[in-house]
Subunit: 230 residues, 2 copies
DNA sequence: GTGCCCCGGATCCTCTAGGATCCGGGGCAC
DNA sequence: GTGCCCCGGATCCTAGAGGATCCGGGGCAC
């Protein structure tokens, strides 16, 4: 541990964030600084720093003299606002990225192939595989990330990352009961976007992207309010 | 100091942020943890936490085993991207806020009056008054903030805050030489927006807002590249 | 039985200590 | 004179200690 100094805070932060995203702790659970330090076999100081750095992601909240707690799940209202904000960002990013249509098309196609491949593996799996679902979310996210990579605006990408973290928070809630993912619909909608891009059809692709996000909104709120009847 | 525990980290953070925004340290300057701790008469631990929390604002950067340094000034390219991102956010926020036109108009008018009042005081002042300039920036910012207050989307507001911090970083650079502010132009452009809102003219106001931000872009880049000849 | 008070453990917050690392300057070899 | 090496001070990073605060449970008064 002496050779890899200051991998500590980064490692601790990554470890905690992974557990948060995977839903190891329920919303409202207290994240004891001393407890985490014992568990990770480090001193409390780097744990505190990691939690402070994670606070702005929205995954955890801080209360003075009481510590950090896992943020409560998103309400349907918040999910609605989150997708709405994504719409604003992604439509803008798409239009800017369309200026480099060829590079964009190339990246979108690659991301789409990876995405649909994982979707097929999920469909073939007999029962939910959490690691696979995690991969699926990453692949899905990569498709959208491609829009920002070519948008030529660093700040749009930064804002996407902020929203993406909240998206993790949303999916974290689902993992508790509803593992069913409408992978097919998302893949089909991505395919529609890609197709329009290949046809040099900017406005059509924009409509397809908007339509896709509307679909995400509906499916998310449906899962949020819950098929379990809540 | 025993009664107001855990005002410490917040106080330290606020103090450091104020100094950063006011440009007390030049870009590239090292922020010594121990030094700040001695200066603020606290131990290094809360200083570390405050710096970690400030890192995501973009005002400071972190390098392992070397510490924190004041972020370099924005390049004209970055300024361009920053304003472009503001355009995306503010146009979207405006359209959403126009749904509650009356409340929006009320807030915009109040913000505009405060803004123009300060602009007059600046014009009347014989020489640059830093405190007054600071107030001016806040008043200017408040006008735009009103758009988001009525947009009904929490995430748009969050993203605005992120961009706003980078805006501070931009203005921080100016303060070094060019105190001249084109307050009149900004006030006139705000007035144009307000006028269209009062006329129930959504599209006209949108154009005025876009035009205003284009003006901000031009004036910012002009200041960024510098009348000093840099 | 109900409600209030007290108390002990757990936790947080801050501080101090000490090893590890970085950085700049003087000295030496060539 | 130039370049390299070494070294001392400053700083960073982590650990651990100690006082302050919170929280839950038992006991007592009514």
């Amino acid at each position: 541990m002496s050779s890899k100094r200051q991998a500590l805070r980064a490692d601790v932060q990554e470890g905690i964030q992974n557990r948060l995203v995977q839903g190891n702790w329920r919303p409202g659970a207290r994240l004891s600084i001393d407890g985490l330090a014992r568990e990770l076999e480090v001193s409390p100081t780097p744990v505190r720093e990691a939690l402070v750095a994670l606070e702005h992601s929205g995954l955890i909240e801080y209360q003075a003299l009481k510590g950090f707690v896992v943020a409560p799940p998103l309400t349907p209202q918040q999910i609605d606002e989150l997708i709405d904000a994504r719409l604003v960002l992604e439509l803008a990013a798409f239009t800017r990225a369309f200026g480099r249509r060829e590079a964009l098309e190339s990246d979108l196609r690659a991301a789409h192939e990876a995405h649909s491949a994982i979707a097929e593996r999920i469909a073939a799996a007999p029962e939910p595989d959490y690691a696979l679902i995690h991969e699926y979310f990453d692949a899905d996210s990569a498709f959208h990330e491609a829009l920002f990579r070519h948008a030529g605006n660093h700040y749009l990408g930064t804002m996407r990352e902020v929203l993406n973290t909240h998206g993790h928070r949303m999916r974290q809630t689902w993992s508790e009961g509803a593992e069913r993912i409408d992978a097919d619909e998302a893949v089909a909608e991505h395919a529609a976007i890609l197709e329009k891009v290949q046809e040099h059809n900017h406005d059509g692709a924009l409509r397809a992207l908007r339509s896709h996000l509307e679909g995400v909104r509906e499916r998310s709120i449906e899962l949020g309010t819950g098929p379990t009847g809540r």
